[in-house]
Symmetry: C2
Subunit: 220 residues, 2 copies
DNA sequence: TCTTTTTCTGACCGTATGGTCAGGTTGGGT
DNA sequence: ACCCAACCTGACCATACGGTCAGAAAAAGA
């Protein structure tokens, strides 16, 4: 609702940007944000356009003005988190060695789990159901990305900079451990006495994951 | 369909067990198995009783004779995988130290990911959506189990048998990495050239996970 | 000011869903 | 042979869903 109001303010020329294009962007953003939440909480099948509309503060019919179908809206939500992850991987390439590269990658992915838990959940849900909507991404972008990173890891191993481990299984472990804090956040919260992790606890989580993984590959 | 046929054969007295109770068990089992598959593939919201009925080879109305509601059926499916996991944790307690205990626990959980991927997915889905159905399990059984295991880990640390790491974060890592092979099995399969992991690849996965984790806690 | 384009919305529609039920069938107990 | 409880099922129902549409409202352009 707050988001839709802000969009309306922008639209009415009383906001920071008065242009029509800016208003459209703002409304789309409000819808996407609401959709991310609803899809994460209810799954694709359990989510309803009505719920998304309510959360975005718009009539349902208006949703279909911005996004043709439920599936199209869903696809946009999934693409979003995927691109965020891809961007986070830049730290991997710029690193001189595994301690720095993998350490920074863990930090980056943990931070995403903290700030975009719903996006992570939507992605997990999509993959768990056989990736009916983004299978092409898996086969093209993700595969290429994975092979590229595996190559880097193999080079580090060849240079004696880390223990000889299977690069793919190492990557799976990085994805699994970092995304777990988003996807299973509710379980972690319950085991934490029903309270979300504090800042200090998030830092401890990061340190724990990095500690075990980096020692596990012989760079700490 | 095969399962329902077998149930019918049992019911007709031409199977291994002719008793009415056995027939009931067999039909329930067929329904639970079908439900696990459908819930895993479509999520709770996307799953339909009709689909489950078709897969179990029964008319839809018959499902409601065995399970009152969709939610009751779902709950049984979730309870199932949870109990399997609890049982797998026995190896943890019987161990003399972390190398043996945690190593065996990883093996056991990897084996479950391989044999019950659908159950794992249903559980993941349930937790991701805020555990609307099994929240009580999280707060009672799972919490007690976790605290018990954390205590064991702390003792091992105190005895100098492993590196000082936060027991909770270690457990989360174990859950995350092992369940990832079930929950994200489709992604792993895609990155494996579209083919499921072979026996040898599963062994390599187990060895990789164990290697990194055990080195990471200083017991290898 | 008048026209045109974009944005917005209440009311509506066909479909599919979870669940019900009356009545039929079967098989063990006596 | 008979009965009764357990088992099974086609047909049905109320509801809620994704999506459509005619037309109102608002903004941009002239």
């Amino acid at each position: 609702m707050k988001d839709a109001d802000r969009a309306k303010r922008i639209k009415n020329g009383r906001g920071t940007a008065g242009s029509r294009a800016a208003a459209r962007r703002a409304t789309e953003e409000a819808i996407l944000k609401a959709a991310e939440t609803v899809f994460a909480e209810a799954g694709f099948g359990g989510a309803t356009m009505q719920l998304i509309a309510d959360m975005a503060g718009l009539p349902k019919a208006n949703l279909h003005y911005y996004f043709e179908t439920k599936e199209a809206l869903y696809r946009r939500v999934v693409e979003r988190i995927f691109n965020i992850w891809l961007q986070a991987a830049d730290v991997f390439d710029e690193a001189a060695g595994p301690a720095e590269g993998i350490g920074a990658y863990i930090d980056a992915k943990m931070e995403i789990s903290r700030r975009h838990p719903n996006g992570s959940k939507v992605w997990a849900s999509e993959v768990m159901h056989g990736a009916p909507v983004i299978q092409d991404y898996l086969e093209t972008t993700l595969r290429a990305w994975t092979e590229g990173r595996a190559k880097v890891i193999r080079r580090w191993i060849a240079e004696g900079k880390m223990t000889d481990v299977d690069p793919h299984h190492l990557l799976y472990m990085l994805w699994a451990t970092t995304q777990h804090y988003a996807d299973f956040g509710h379980q972690i919260e319950t085991l934490n006495g029903g309270k979300p992790l504090t800042d200090a606890q998030w830092e401890a989580a990061k340190a724990s994951v990095k500690g075990i993984v980096l020692r596990g590959i012989g760079v700490a």
